[in-house]
Amino acid sequence: MKTRFLVPLLLLLVAFALSGSNCLLDEKVLEIVYFQKTCVDFEENEDSEVFTTPATMDYADELDDVLSNNEISKSDVNSARIVSASYMVTDFSHTHDWDITGEITVRRVDTAGAAVTLVTYTGQSVLAALNNSVPAILDPAGVELLNDALEDYITDAADPVIEFSVENGNVNPNPSVTNMLVFDWRGCVAIHIVAGISLEVPDPF
């Protein structure tokens, strides 16, 4: 009686264990999302309310680093899209506040494209943005340019290089040589990179 039960039970367990990859593990394909922020820094030292401050970013290098850090290849990426943008003043030490109005434009350097508006800011208090991430109001033209750049990167159509440029139009009060507008700020764009991966997971029942 004992042997009758013992032998089949042990055989069942051993077979279950040894054939684990077939019996216990199941291959699943899942889409994983990587949230990535790419940021550019601008240093302002202005004596006029109208000024331009460009900063260039090699988007392909940035994205290469993201994929490398997460151990995925470009062929695993299904899509990459802009989620949001924000800006923040990182250094400001004036005795009074300033309100600034303007836009941040983007331009494809690698394709020598035209600049389009990505972000507009109106009456933004510099002091209020000090160490405080402000959600940016996005312009469809700039988002489309960045989404296209991401698509070009994924499909190997190009290695996008993007120029971000502050195009300021108005400052209150008006800066001058004796009352310079001096602050540093950072603009960030958030991206979702969606990758498909295959993974064997235990799902025996």
């Binding site: 039960f5 889409e31 994983i32 990587y34 899509s79 235990p202």
Partner: protein, 299 residues
């Protein structure tokens, strides 16, 4: 020697089962990194429920406990929870500064592998990660029973291993419990054996990635018909789990404490065999129902 061989096979099986789960658990950390706060909790909750149900199952297969004399039993327990359709999605809200804020049904950790994307202002998109498309969550643990002293036996579950994965590190499970024979105080003609007991367990993964605590207390009844012994148990279960991970958005460590779950738990099972080898199967009706089966070798 034959018993030693059986023990090695059983330990090997438990090791294999735990190790196979590790790559998936490591991937959960990546999936979570896209989320913060409430989204992360909603994403993980079904796995937490199943984990708690599994840990609080399968720790007995009989209410009979000898009053005195040295008795031991080495046991391998396999516990599994089947996920309902309701567990596949949760109510997720966009984050990361996405505008306008939207709430949609997104996959949980056990839901569809397909991500869900919503459109926002000015051509932006927000994507909720997919799940692992799981039907069930199962785990195997070894346990030892030692007794008896005045109708009391100890139950010990222990497992610790360094999986060699720098991101995960160590996996360990420690469970300590005791059961006491109620039958010894009753008329010997009482139709069933009765026992009461409790068990506490702590599971950790990595230095601080996952920490789970389970506690169950209850009574059991069984009746031996020779080679077959039906049994039942009624218990009160408690379970809590915390998960620490790094958020992609903030770049900072996030810690979520999943809802501590308490539930009444009814177990119905049957053991088959004659010492030294007994197999059992049971179904557990609780907030998250589960089943278990196992093999015990001992005297």
């Amino acid at each position: 020697m034959r018993i030693l061989t059986r023990l090695i096979i059983a330990i090997g099986f438990a090791t294999l089962a735990l190790l196979m789960a590790v790559p998936a658990i490591a991937q959960i950390e990546d999936q979570l990194s896209a989320y913060t706060g409430a989204n992360a909790e909603g994403y993980l909750q079904p796995l937490s429920d199943a984990f708690g149900a599994n840990l609080n199952s399968g720790w007995y297969h009989s209410a009979y406990i000898p009053v005195d004399g040295f008795h031991w039993s080495f046991e391998l327990r396999v516990m599994g929870a089947i996920f309902s359709d309701d567990a596949a999605t949760f109510s997720a809200t966009t984050e990361g500064g996405f505008s306008p804020e939207q709430t949609v049904d997104a996959p949980t950790v056990v839901g569809s592998g397909d991500a869900v994307t919503v459109d926002g202002d000015s051509g932006t998109e927000f994507t909720f990660p997919g799940g692992f498309d799981l039907n069930s969550f199962a785990m195997a643990v070894p346990q030892i029973k030692l007794g008896s002293y005045k109708g009391t036996e100890a139950v010990i579950r222990y497992f610790a291993i360094d999986v060699g994965d720098v991101e995960i590190g160590n996996v360990s499970l420690l469970g300590l419990g005791a059961r006491h024979s109620i039958s010894q105080y009753l008329d010997p003609e009482f139709p069933v054996d009765l026992a009461g007991g409790f068990m506490w367990q702590k599971f950790t993964l990595g230095d601080d990635f996952i920490e789970a605590n389970a506690f169950t207390i209850g009574v059991q009844a069984s009746r031996n018909y020779g080679w077959i012994e039906p049994y039942a148990g009624l218990s009160y279960d408690m379970f809590s789990m915390s998960v620490a991970y790094e958020s992609d958005e903030s770049g900072e460590a996030e810690e979520i404490n999943l809802d501590a779950a308490s539930s009444v738990h009814l177990c119905l099972g049957c053991a088959i065999g004659i010492a030294p080898v007994i197999a059992n199967v049971e179904y557990n009706i609780a907030a998250q129902s589960s089943f278990a089966f196992g093999l015990a070798v001992g005297f």
